[in-house]
Every structure is written in structure tokens, then in C-alpha cells.
């Protein structure tokens, strides 16, 4: 449980600074330090056991089905990192208190730092690789926010995005690798994974898993070729750099190498990849660092180089090298953090970090100068400082490669080479900032020593460098031993950290490095010129350009498909239909089935021809819209004849009614549209469309033929058998509509109502003048609204039509008819009134809110359905009974009839909403038009 506390305390601490910020900076800093301090204390509390080789484990089931558990383990490696994270973290908190200008929110920075700290602690004491990844990604996110702390600066934003993109990508790769490991081992528990090294390394997926995990580690640790985000992360406030980019974030990558060492290391693949990446990064980073004029830029590349060194050590597949790597992790953290703090102090005091302007600072800040010199010396590998010790181990390991070939001499050579550069840039750091003449127009002048409390954290770290360097066995050895145990297990080699190993090759290399470095620095002129000529590319610009290029490409590619052309979308759609349909149809051996076709009669052929002429005619004539509408009506008419011909009178009734209402609707709409379709399609497009239309038409025709010539078993008999006894009606189609499948009908009238509402909503406030003729003239319309002859007759027809409607409605259950058709007849009769006498006239006579009518209709139908609940039956269960009344005689009462009334009411309501609102459209516009005319007169 305390393990969780170790992780969570910083998180809890994240809230405190935000709250205490307004009570002063010191309190804010204290509140920020509280969490990490307790975490540190808890770690120290566990320290004795861990140093003795023990470890603490906490297991809590979280998502066992995913394999993600809240499983924690505090062992030597975790302890080492944990102390580093909390310890340096506390120093950074203290440092930040003085670093940050009052303009910036201290609380926010603390909060983000603490979130980061929590994530980092989580990484190092996770005992579940998925949990590790959770924390891993959290560090990426937190660092994103930290780097972009000054988000108004474009560079900060870009740097943050770059870091996030690169480390995020690495995180994804790591996730992949981890899942593969889980697949191989059967568990995500790190203890189990680490114990299954042999299994993993012999698995066929090992190379993939290894590479994915290494990508994760390398991106985080800024190894080549993923290194470039780190220099640009320097736009973060310097405490952030001191923390993230020396001690923690970038160390997560090498931590992962250490953590996974038992499981993944030891193979040739590991050796070649890890060591060559490390080697290259080491050399490249050291080389580049020398030429950076920005203090933090220099430190960033130096960090890259040192991380390369650590990586190289892990890559060497030797236990001693691993120990050296662990050692260097600590050493690098101490001197690099203090150097970043130095950079921060310089920046803070002078307002610049440009080494070309900074000179002779020792006069202004001697204490800082002293401390920086020590730290830089540690970085350079000067004896009696901690950097020297691990570097010596490194040099000696490069000499003990257990491979043959050119690597045996190349590695030590390049290591020395990198050592030379390290000395050179360390020297440059010290010399060009603190000595070497007078400062050149500093933004702040004169600089002076920063507050003591700002120097204190740096001083503590420098003291550590010295103490470790001088008394390694008293200070660091136990920690290193414990960490080494965790990494290497029982294979712990015999090793001795000593300042003096006698005159040997590593010492020689160190000496060469020191001497060569100084020499190099004083001969730097030509080298700088060479560098300026050779190496002028800016990764940020390139990265941004690459991202922008990929965004542009993405956009172009997207617009290829997403071109805003409905025709193109439809072509894709129909293309899918053709491809998928053909994939089946083309491989059919027997198209025609076993059922014989019925004979053809002359009238049917004639009517079929009429219909096809109508359809083809609609296509040919479609530029003349009104005429096309008329031809379309022919098709609709023949469709209803086909329904009649093949025994479906209900369908014919519905079809013919819907047809007319549709045509009326189309005319209402056509009034506001151009009367003529321009000829826009080129011959290519036309032939393409003909091919598509022809293929699908043929396909559907063939499918239809194939089905019609095949037998099928149908459930129809059941309906025929139960329509009268169970549904109370002899018209089976109607009984299906109101009873067997009444739910469909309820849905269907809902659709109608929704359509009406949608149309109403769309027409509200729509202003739309009818378009002019193609030649630009206005249409000339008749002056008189309606011929009186029509008005008179329409009124006469209304009762007649209502009678017919009643008739159709009442007989529907037993004979063709029903609520839907009756509703349409009523609507058409009313529409006729609108057509004949105009909107206002009808509105004076029926001022229903048609929308409500439609809604009430659906409610009636639904309520009828729900009525069956009262009797313990499911929704829409119908009941009917035969009643005998005097005079009237026996007749049927059926709930289905009430349902059908609902249908009727809905149809009337929604049809009238649609038609009357569409009709009113011109009304609004005409009034608007008149108004504009009259205002124009005045």
C-alpha cells in the first residue's frame, strides 16, 4: 500500500500548489514539496530492505481481463530511480521557486511537475508492463504540457508537439511490443516476464517485440534517429529541463533498457541494435554539442550523447557494462541537473543563454562559477568526480567486447573520440561563459549571484558529484549493487569501483580524451567553420515541414475521395454494389431455376412496353422537367396496374394515391426550381453512368429472374389461416398491416410524422423566389388565381371524396382499402380545395394545426397498441368482437380499427402539413415581394 502512496503523493501534491499559490510563493513551494518529500521518506523507509537485496511487491487486481493490474514492485533499480526522481525533484522545486518570474503561474508549473513526477515514479515501480506503459504515456503528456508551459511562444508549442509526437509514437510502439511480450509469456506481470527471458528470446516474435520496445526506449531517451526532439524541448522553463532532460524523462528510456535487460538482452540482435544506436548517438551527440551556442542546446546534445553512452553500455551484453550503465545514469543525473540549473541561473541573471554574448561571468557570480566548473568537470570525466568513474568503466568495457571484427577496435576508438568532444564542450561551457573576456550587451546588466536558495539545489548536486567521485564505495556502491541485482539477478559480476585501477588502457583513453579535448577546443576555429558549412539543417524546421507536408498530402489524398461531389460518392456506392454483386453473380452456374415461367399475354406486353417507354422517356426528356414529371406519372400508373394484374388491389390503391400526391408535391417544388435542366454531362460521364446504371439494372433483372424461377417456402400460409380467426379480417394484407406486422405500420406512420416535422422545420423562415426563365425573363403567370368553375366543383367534390374515403376506410379490414388509403383520399380532397380556392380560403375554414393532427394520429395508434397491456398481452395485441345491435345488426368491433384510425389521422395530418406548408411558401415570398416593391416605390 505504501507503494501506491509513493506514486500518488506527488499527484495529491499537484492540487496543493494550485490552491496555495495565492498565499505566496514560498508557501506554494512548500506545499509542492510536501508530497515528494513524503514519497522520498517512504522510499528511504524501504531503503534498508532493498539495499539488502529484498524487494516490495504490491498487487491489486484492476483489469485482469486485459492483463492490466495495479501491480507494483520496489526493487533496487526502482529504488535507485525513485530516489533520483524524488530527490532531484525536491531540488528542482526549490530551484523553481526562485527561477520563475512572478508573471508566470508557479502553481501551474508545480502541478504539472508533480503529475510528471508521479508518472515517472509509476514507471520505475510498476510490476506490470501495461501499467508501466500507462505511466510511460503519462510522462509524455506531462512533458508536453511542461515544454509548452510558455505556450504563447511558437517555439515552445512546436517543441512540445514534436516531443509529444516522437515520444507518443514510441509509446505506441512500446505498447505493441509489450502486447507481444504478453502474448509470448502469457502474462503482463513484469516479474513473470523477466523470469521468462529464455522463452522470449527463442520465440519467433522476439525480433518484432524487441524492435518495438527499443523504439519506445530510444524515442524517450532521444537516441538517434529520434534524438531531435530533445534540443527543441529546451524551450521549456529551465527547471523543467533540469528535471526532465537530465534526470527523469530521458532516463525513462534507459530505465526501460535496464528493466527489460533480463528478458531481452543477451542476443546478437540486441547487441547490434542497441550498441550501434548507442554508439552513433554518443558520437553524434558529443560532436554536435560542441557547436551549439545556446547553453541549453549544448547541454541537450550533451545529454543525447551521454544517453547514447548509457545505451551503448546496455547494448554490450556484458554484466559489467550494465553496472557501468546504471552508474552513469546516476552520475549523469547529478552533474547534468546541476548544469541545467547553472544555465537557468545564467539565463535568469543575464537574460540570455547565448555563449557568444556571455563572457567573464566569474566576476559577477563566483560561487556559481565554482559549482559549474565542478559539474562540468564531472561531465568531462575529470578524475575525482563521479563522471570519471563511470567513464572509466565505460572505456574499459569498450575494450572488452566479446565480438570479433572491426567493432573491437572501432568501438573504443569512437568512444575515445566522443570523450574528446565531451571534454571540449565541457571546457567550452565553462570557458566561454565564465571566462574569456567581457560580456556583450546583456539584456540584464550587471548580473549578480542569484538568491542562495537558488544556488543551494545546484550546490547539493555538485557536492554529490564530488562525494560520489571521491568515495564511491561509501556512497553509491550499495545502491548500485541493489540496482544491479535487480537488473542482472544472481548473475551479479564481481566488480570494484575504484578511482585508481593502475595504468591501463582505459586510463590512457581518459587522458587522451582530456588532452585531446583541450587541444580540440583551442583548434576549434576551423572545425566551427567546417560545421557551419556542413551542418546547417534545423531539425525543427525540417520536422515542421515534414509534418506540414504530410498534412498537405493527407489533405490532398482526402480530397481525392472526399471531393464534395455527390456524383462521385454515388459512383463509389454503385461501384460497391456492382463489385459485391458481381462477386456472387459471376460465379453462378445455373441462373434459371426449376420453376416454369408463366405464359405472357399481349396486354401485359403492351403495358410493359408502355412502362419502359415511360421510364426511358423520363430519362431522355429529363431536361424538360415538367414533361419528365408527366412521363414519370405514366410509370407510376403502370406500376399500379401491375399490382392489379398480379392480385394486389391494396397496393394499387396505395400506389395510385401516393403517386398523385407525389406529383403534386413535385410541382409545388418545381415552381421554385429552374424549369429546365442544363446539359452538363459530357459524353464520358454519360457513358460511365450508362454503364453503371446498365450493370446494376441487368444485375437486378437477373437476380429477379433467378429468384422467380426458384421455389420457396413461405410462411404466408400461417397468415392466411389466422387472418380471420386471429386477426378478425378477411383482407390478409390489411390484417398484416394492422395486426401481424402492426409494429411496422406504427414505424411507418412515425416516419411520415417525422418527415412532416422535418419539412415544417426546413420551410420555416425559408425565403425563396421562383427562379427566372433560362433567358432571364420572368414567367408570365395567369392573373386570376383560380377559375371559378374549378372552385365550385372542388367544393362539391369534397363531401363526395370524404364519403369515398369513409368507404375505403371501413372496408379495409375485410376488403382492399384501409386507413392509409382513406387518409390519402381525404388529403387529396382537401388539397384540391387548396388548389382550387387558395391557402387563405381553406385556412379560414379549417384552422387545425396539422402538425398536432399527425402527432395525435400516431398517439392514437400507439395508445391502441398499449391498450393490450391492460389485458396482460404484449404491445399491439388486437382484440375483436362481433356485436349485435338492434336495427343495425351484427357488426365487428376491432381494436385494429382504432389503430387504423390512428393511421388515417396521421396520414391526413402529415400530408397536409407537407403540402400546405409547401404551398404557403410562395405566400410568404409573394408578400415579401410585394413589400419590397412598395418600399421601392416610396
Amino acid at each position: 500500500m505504501t507503494l501506491i502512496l509513493i506514486i500518488l503523493l506527488p499527484l495529491l501534491g499537484a492540487c496543493l500548489p494550485l490552491a496555495t499559490e495565492k498565499f505566496g510563493r514560498t508557501l506554494c513551494a512548500f506545499s509542492a514539496a510536501l508530497g515528494p518529500a513524503i514519497s522520498l521518506a517512504l522510499l528511504l523507509w524501504h531503503l534498508p530492505t532493498v539495499l539488502a537485496g529484498g524487494s516490495f511487491i504490491y498487487d491489486h487486481s484492476w483489469l485482469p481481463l486485459l492483463g492490466l493490474d495495479l501491480s507494483l514492485r520496489l526493487d533496487g533499480l526502482g529504488m535507485m530511480f525513485g530516489l533520483m526522481i524524488t530527490g532531484i525533484g525536491l531540488l528542482v522545486i526549490l530551484y523553481t521557486r526562485y527561477y520563475l518570474s512572478p508573471r508566470d503561474s508557479l502553481g501551474k508549473l508545480y502541478a504539472l511537475l508533480q503529475i510528471f513526477m508521479m508518472a515517472m515514479l509509476g514507471i520505475v515501480i510498476s510490476n506490470n508492463i501495461l501499467l508501466l506503459i500507462v505511466f510511460w504515456e503519462l510522462t509524455s503528456l506531462a512533458s508536453f504540457l511542461l515544454i509548452s508551459y510558455w505556450s504563447v511562444q511558437s517555439d515552445a508549442r512546436k517543441g512540445a508537439r514534436m516531443a509529444l509526437t516522437i515520444t507518443g509514437a514510441g509509446g505506441l510502439a512500446l505498447l505493441g511490443g509489450a502486447l507481444l511480450l504478453g502474448k509470448i509469456v502469457g502474462s503482463f506481470n513484469l516479474t513473470e516476464i523477466l523470469a521468462s527471458g529464455e522463452l522470449i528470446k527463442n520465440h519467433e516474435l522476439y525480433p518484432v517485440a524487441l524492435i518495438l520496445i527499443l523504439i519506445g526506449a530510444f524515442t524517450k531517451s532521444a537516441q538517434f534517429p529520434f534524438h531531435f526532439w530533445l534540443p527543441h524541448a529546451m524551450h521549456a522553463p529551465t527547471p523543467v529541463s533540469a528535471y526532465l532532460h537530465s534526470a527523469t524523462m530521458v532516463k525513462a528510456g534507459v530505465f526501460l533498457l535496464a528493466r527489460m535487460y533480463p528478458a531481452l538482452a543477451g542476443t546478437d540482435l540486441w547487441f547490434y541494435i542497441v550498441s550501434s544506436v548507442g554508439l552513433f548517438t554518443l558520437v553524434f551527440g558529443a560532436y554536435t554539442a560542441l557547436f551549439k551556442h545556446d547553453l541549453k542546446g549544448l547541454l541537450a546534445f550533451s545529454t543525447i550523447s551521454h544517453l547514447g553512452l548509457i545505451t551503448l553500455l546496455f547494448g554490450l551484453n556484458s554484466q559489467l557494462a550494465a553496472i557501468a550503465a546504471l552508474f552513469h545514469i546516476i552520475n549523469h543525473a547529478t552533474f547534468k541537473a546541476s548544469l541545467f540549473m547553472t544555465a537557468g541561473i545564467i539565463d535568469h541573471e543575464t537574460g540570455t543563454r547565448d555563449m557568444r554574448r556571455l563572457n567573464g561571468m566569474w566576476q559577477f557570480m563566483p560561487l556559481t562559477t565554482t559549482l559549474a566548473m565542478v559539474a562540468a568537470s564531472a561531465m568531462a570525466g575529470v578524475p575525482l568526480l563521479n563522471g570519471f568513474l563511470s567513464k572509466e568503466m565505460f572505456f574499459s568495457e569498450t575494450l572488452n567486447l566479446n565480438t570479433s571484427g572491426y567493432l573491437t577496435w572501432l568501438v573504443p576508438l569512437l568512444a575515445t573520440f566522443a570523450g574528446i568532444f565531451a571534454v571540449a564542450y565541457s571546457y567550452r561551457f565553462v570557458y566561454e561563459v565564465f571566462f574569456g573576456g567581457k560580456p556583450v550587451d546583456l539584456p540584464k546588466y550587471p548580473p549578480h549571484e542569484p538568491p542562495h536558495y537558488m544556488i543551494a539545489p545546484m550546490a547539493i548536486l555538485v557536492v554529490l558529484c564530488v562525494v560520489i567521485g571521491m568515495f564511491p564505495n561509501l556512497t553509491i556502491a550499495p545502491f548500485l549493487h541493489a540496482a544491479g541485482l535487480a537488473v542482472l539477478g544472481s548473475d551479479m559480476p564481481d566488480y570494484k569501483i575504484a578511482i585508481w585501477h593502475g595504468f591501463n588502457l582505459p586510463l590512457l583513453m581518459s587522458c587522451i580524451a582530456l588532452a585531446g579535448g583541450l587541444l580540440l577546443y583551442y583548434q576549434r576555429k576551423g572545425l566551427f567553420a567546417f560545421y557551419e558549412r556542413q551542418y546547417r539543417r534545423d531539425e525543427k524546421v525540417m520536422f515542421e515541414a515534414r509534418i506540414q507536408r504530410s498534412e498537405q498530402l493527407a489533405q490532398q489524398l482526402t480530397e481525392k475521395f472526399e471531393n464534395g461531389s455527390l456524383q462521385s460518392y454515388l459512383v463509389w456506392f454503385f461501384g460497391m454494389v456492382i463489385v459485391l454483386g458481381a462477386s456472387q453473380l459471376l460465379f453462378i452456374d445455373k441462373l434459371t431455376g426449376s420453376v416454369a415461367a408463366a405464359p405472357v399475354d399481349a396486354v401485359s406486353v403492351v403495358m410493359a412496353i408502355v412502362m419502359m417507354v415511360g421510364a426511358v422517356g423520363t430519362v431522355l426528356i429529363h431536361h424538360n422537367r415538367f414533361a419528365a414529371l408527366l412521363l414519370l406519372s405514366v410509370v407510376g400508373l403502370v406500376v399500379s396496374l401491375i399490382f392489379i394484374r398480379f392480385s394486389a388491389p391494396d397496393l394499387a390503391l396505395t400506389q395510385i394515391s401516393v403517386e398523385v400526391v407525389t406529383v403534386v408535391l413535385m410541382m409545388l417544388a418545381l415552381y421554385f426550381l429552374p424549369q429546365v435542366t442544363p446539359n452538363e454531362s459530357g459524353p464520358l460521364k454519360v457513358s460511365r453512368d450508362i454503364v453503371i446504371a446498365g450493370s446494376i439494372g441487368t444485375g437486378i433483372g437477373l437476380l429477379c429472374w433467378a429468384i422467380l424461377t426458384r421455389p420457396y417456402e413461405t410462411i404466408a400460409d400461417y397468415y392466411l389461416a389466422n387472418a380471420v380467426s386471429g386477426g378478425g379480417g378477411t383482407n390478409v394484407v390489411n390484417v398484416i398491416l394492422v395486426d401481424f406486422r402492426g409494429f411496422d405500420t406504427l414505424g411507418e406512420i412515425t416516419v411520415l410524422t417525422v418527415a412532416a416535422m422535418g419539412i415544417y422545420a426546413m420551410l420555416r423562415k425559408l425565403r425563396l423566389p421562383p427562379p427566372p426563365n433560362p433567358d432571364g425573363t420572368e414567367h408570365v403567370w395567369a392573373k386570376e388565381p383560380s377559375p371559378p368553375v374549378l372552385m365550385v366543383l372542388a367544393r362539391l367534390l369534397l363531401p363526395l371524396a370524404l364519403m369515398v374515403s369513409t368507404y375505403i376506410f371501413l372496408r379495409g379490414h375485410n376488403l382492399p382499402g384501409g386507413g392509409f388509403i382513406a387518409g390519402l383520399i381525404t388529403s387529396v380532397a382537401l388539397i384540391l380545395q387548396y388548389v382550387a380556392s387558395g391557402n387563405d380560403w381553406v385556412q379560414e375554414r379549417i384552422n387545425w394545426r396539422y402538425r398536432n393532427v399527425a402527432a395525435i394520429g400516431v398517439l392514437i395508434a400507439a395508445a391502441t397498441g398499449a391498450g393490450s397491456w391492460l389485458f396482460g398481452y404484449p404491445f399491439l395485441t388486437t382484440a375483436f368482437t362481433y356485436v349485435t345491435w338492434p336495427i343495425v345488426g351484427k357488426f365487428e368491433l376491432a381494436t385494429a380499427l382504432i389503430f387504423d384510425i390512428g393511421v388515417y389521422v396521421t396520414v391526413v395530418g402529415s400530408t397536409l402539413v407537407i403540402l400546405s406548408y409547401l404551398g404557403r411558401l410562395s405566400h410568404f415570398n409573394r408578400h415579401a415581394h410585394i413589400k419590397s416593391l412598395s418600399s421601392g416605390d416610396n
Binding site: W62, L65, L66, E137, F144, S148, S151, V152, R161, G168, G171, L172, L175, L179, K183, I547, E551, Q552, A554, Q555, T558, E562, G564, L566, Y569, L570, W572, F573, M576, L580, G581, S583, Q584, L585, I588, L703, A706, I707, R710, Y712, Y718, F740, G742, G747, T750, V751, T753, V754, M757, G758, A761, A855, V858, L859, W869, Y873, P874, F875, L876, T877
Partner: protein, 504 residues
């Protein structure tokens, strides 16, 4: 007998109708009724989940007609969880519109939203293929109407494309249904499963045509390549709350694909077993990739989020294509996550648009937002989740799907999902950092976000959190769900063995 199963259809239907009858000026009353109804719906879905969680099928025979003759509603784990998803989504989307000053909500917004819910829930519940068509139409028409609530050139164009494509899709849907009926003589999905499995070599290829045509229809709704082209324009032109509601619609397509291609054309379908699979996974893969590319290239936040919807569809259908219990379970988990988060992002974008003046949600520098910290924070969290970074649910969903990948296409799927995630990360980090950080020096005078709007967004994000925290229970449920869905025999027996209430 319990009528609870039909409540998710009837409750929104009747609410929608009553809302239509209420006078337009009673805005708050309408809103309250609407909210109350959705809340009740949420409670009902929870009850149904509990019911379905026991592993039994609840078969509700409408009109008391025995299947396959009447229409049945079938509640199983899959339909139950989908309804929970739709009701929560609706609840927060409607909650978002509480703001009195919000300009966009037209008088019929609430009733149309309820009709949409009717359609969605009906589609989830029905056990009848034609009835599925009817509910599809209800939800489509409601969505058309919701999309076209107010005018704008962009919306009109998007709406036109959306409607015409879907009307064409409906025609294909009908042809597929008719073909199935013409060859098997039934519409009940369980019965179809039996009949299709028994189809002989003579008729099977024609049934196969219907099967593939159905995929085109569902694929159009789900927005799979090459049928998704309508989506970015339509979703991005809709108002925030409408777009948030729309987040469920692609999932209806995904649901239909899962249902039909496991139940009817699944492992036991004889000649037609898994007829879809050879097509599904490459298309899903392309969808995923093109969606990620689209997100990368987007110039507006709304458009970008629309592409994220497509990415999620690609991911989901990849999961479906794997045709295994673990994969399906992961898919459902991811489905819950992606729907909630995409909805939250749509709502959030709406708030952003309101505070950015003329720049709206274009990914360019603009005046500072009034509440940039609040909105930025919400965006950051939602973005993390949608990218699939820990510690939010997207990570779990993605990890589950990756874990479930097996077979020869595994490298593709891994590459697709991981690289897609990277593209989305790049895209969102660009849009987020530009919108929230690249600010000009003055602030647009816009009203502060309504508290309910913020709560709605937070709520959706919290659901995503919940998925992570209660992940194990959720995964246990989705595992059981996947087991149930991939072994449809009990479903078929439950439906075809259903006995109507006596006495009719």
C-alpha cells in the same frame, strides 16, 4: 408479463409526440420533460442490462404472434448495452442544450431527438429484418431533420448528399430484404438463420448477393470505405449537440453488421458462413487509415472529429472482422468508449466555436477564448482518450483489440491501429495547440459556457473514465456478450421457441 423491453422504443416515441403537441413558447417545460424522459430511458436501459446480463434472452412478441410470423423484439447482452449507450449519449446531448441562450436549438429539436432515439433503439431491439429497415428509416429521417434544423449553405449541401446517399442505400436495403424473403420465405432473423444455414448450393449464391448488399447498406450507415464520404461534411456541419447525437448512428451500422453477420451469416451459416469476412477487414483497414489521414489533413476541428468517428469505425470493424470472442468483446468496449468521447468532442467543439468569434473552429490563430483554460483542459483529456493514450478508456479499448488480433492479417491490423493512433495524435496535437495556444491578444466577447453544457461534456468524459475504472466488470460483460453473439444457437432457439401469451 414484463413490457419493459419495448419501453426503449415507446418511451421516446411517445415523448417525441407529446413534445410536438406542446406549445413552442414553453421552452423550459419542453426541455424538462425531454430530459426527464431520457433520464427514465437511462434507468430503463440499466434495468435491461441487468436483465440481459443474466444471459437470458427476452423475447417480446408484438401482437402476441409467435415468431417467425409476427415481429419480435429480442433483448440480449448486445442490444442491452447498445441501448445504454444510446440513452446516455442522448441524455448528455440534450443536457447540453439546457442553455437558454443557445441560439441553435429549434422548437422541434427535442422531439426529433426522441424520434431518433426511437429509431436507434428499435434497430437495436428488433429481431425482424424488415422491421430493422423501418427503424433505420425512422432514425435516418430524424437525423436528416436534425441536421437541417437551421440553414446554412454548407449544411444544405451536406444534408442533400447525406439524404440522397441514404435514400439510395434504403433502396438497396429493400432489394436485399426482398431477395432474402424471395428465397427463404421469412423475415425473422432467427428464422432466417435457420433457413440460410439450410440453403442448398442452388440458392446460396443468390442469398449471398443479399448478404453482401446488406453489407453495403450497413456499411453506408457505419461509414466504411468507400461509403463514408458523406460523413465528414454531414457531421461537421451539424450543430454540436446534433453531431453528438449522431455519434450513435455509425454505431447502429456497426451493430447491424455484428448482428446480421454473426446471427444469419455467421459461423454456422453453411454455404454462406462468414461470407462477409474476406471483404470486411481490408475495407475496415482502409477506412481506419483514410480516416486517420483525413484527421491529419483537416482544417477545422469539427471536420477532424468527424474523421475520428471514421477512424473509430475502421477500428471497430477491424475488430469485428477478426471474428473471435476476444476481438468482439474488445470491439464493444471500444465502441462504448469511442461513442462517448466523440460525442464529448463534438459538444466541446460547439463551445469552442461560440467563444472564438469568426474563426469558429478553424485550426488557425484566433482571439483568445473566454474560457480557454477550461475548454482546453476538457479538450486535452478527451483528446488523450480518443487517441488511445492512457490512462483513459481509449487505451484499454485499443490494447484489447490489439491483443485480440490473430491470424495472417495481424501485422496489418497492428500497423493500422498503431499508425492510425500516431496520425491522430499528430493531428490532435496540432489542432489543440493551435486552437488553445496560438491566440491573438484580445478576447472575443462571448458569453461564458453554460454550466449544464460543461456538465454534459464532463459527464461523457466521466463515462469514459468509468470504463477504465470499472473496466473489469465491463470487459466481463462484453466477454459474455461476445460469447453469446458468436454462438447464436441459443438466440435462435429462444426466438423460435417463444410461446405467445395464452388466451389469444
Amino acid at each position: 408479463m414484463s413490457h419493459l423491453v419495448i419501453a426503449p422504443i415507446l418511451l421516446p416515441l411517445i415523448t417525441g409526440l407529446i413534445l410536438l403537441l406542446m406549445p413552442e413558447r414553453h421552452r423550459m417545460r419542453t426541455h424538462l420533460l425531454s430530459m426527464f424522459s431520457v433520464f427514465a430511458l437511462m434507468v430503463i436501459s440499466v434495468l435491461l442490462i441487468i436483465k440481459a446480463g443474466r444471459g437470458e434472452f427476452v423475447v417480446y412478441a408484438l401482437g402476441n404472434w409467435a415468431p417467425p410470423f409476427g415481429i419480435v423484439l429480442v433483448l440480449d447482452r448486445l442490444s442491452a448495452i447498445m441501448m445504454l449507450l444510446s440513452s446516455t449519449l442522448a441524455f448528455f446531448s440534450l443536457l447540453y442544450t439546457t442553455d437558454e441562450k443557445a441560439p441553435q436549438v429549434s422548437p422541434h429539436f427535442h422531439s426529433l431527438a426522441h424520434f431518433l432515439l426511437t429509431g436507434v433503439n428499435g434497430a437495436f431491439l428488433t429481431g425482424d429484418l424488415f422491421n430493422l429497415f423501418v427503424f433505420f428509416e425512422i432514425l435516418l429521417l430524424s437525423s436528416y431533420a436534425l441536421l437541417m434544423q437551421a440553414g446554412s449553405a454548407r449544411r444544405a449541401k451536406a444534408g442533400l448528399h447525406y439524404v440522397i446517399l441514404n435514400v439510395t442505400g434504403s433502396a438497396i436495403f429493400l432489394i436485399a430484404i426482398a431477395t432474402l424473403y424471395g428465397l427463404t420465405g421469412t423475415l425473422n432473423m432467427a428464422d432466417l438463420a435457420v433457413k440460410v444455414a439450410a440453403a442448398d448450393a442452388d440458392t446460396a449464391p443468390f442469398i449471398g448477393i443479399a448478404a453482401l448488399l446488406l453489407f453495403i447498406v450497413f456499411g453506408l450507415k457505419a461509414a466504411i470505405f468507400p461509403l463514408y464520404f458523406w460523413l465528414p461534411a454531414a457531421y461537421s456541419s451539424a450543430h454540436g449537440p446534433v453531431a453528438a447525437l449522431f455519434a450513435i448512428m455509425t454505431k447502429v451500422g456497426v451493430y447491424a453488421i455484428i448482428r446480421v453477420y454473426t446471427l444469419i451469416f455467421g459461423n454456422d451459416a453453411g454455404e454462406l458462413s462468414n461470407i462477409l469476412l474476406p471483404w470486411l477487414w481490408p475495407l475496415a483497414f482502409i477506412t481506419l487509415i483514410l480516416g486517420a489521414i483525413g484527421a491529419l489533413g483537416a482544417r477545422e476541428l469539427r471536420v477532424q472529429i468527424s474523421w475520428l468517428v471514421i477512424v473509430s469505425v475502421g477500428t471497430l470493424l477491424t475488430g469485428v472482422a477478426l471474428n473471435s470472442e476476444t476481438a468482439l468483446s474488445a470491439t464493444i468496449f471500444y465502441l462504448l468508449h469511442s461513442t462517448w468521447i466523440c460525442a464529448a468532442l463534438f459538444l466541446l467543439t460547439d463551445l469552442i466555436i461560440r467563444q472564438r468569434g469568426d474563426a469558429e473552429d478553424r485550426i488557425t490563430s484566433a482571439p483568445e477564448m473566454r474560457q480557454s483554460l477550461l475548454l482546453g483542459g476538457l479538450f486535452f483529456v478527451a483528446a488523450i482518450s480518443v487517441i488511445g493514450m492512457p490512462p483513459l478508456s481509449g487505451f484499454v479499448g485499443k490494447a484489447l483489440i490489439l491483443q485480440a488480433a490473430t491470424g495472417p492479417q495481424t501485422p496489418w491490423i497492428w500497423a493500422g491501429i498503431l499508425l492510425g493512433g500516431l496520425a491522430v495524435l499528430t493531428a490532435l496535437s496540432r489542432s489543440g495547440s493551435t486552437i488553445f495556444w496560438r491566440m491573438e491578444n484580445h478576447v472575443v466577447t462571448a458569453p461564458a459556457a453554460d454550466i449544464w453544457s460543461v456538465i454534459a461534456i464532463l459527464g461523457l468524459i466521466l463515462f469514459s473514465f468509468g470504463l477504465m475504472i470499472f473496466g473489469n466488470q465491463v470487459i466481463a460483460y462484453t466477454n459474455a456478450l461476445a460469447e453469446q453473439v458468436l454462438h447464436p444457437q441459443p438466440y435462435i432457439q429462444a426466438v423460435l421457441g417463444h410461446i405467445p401469451v395464452k388466451g389469444n
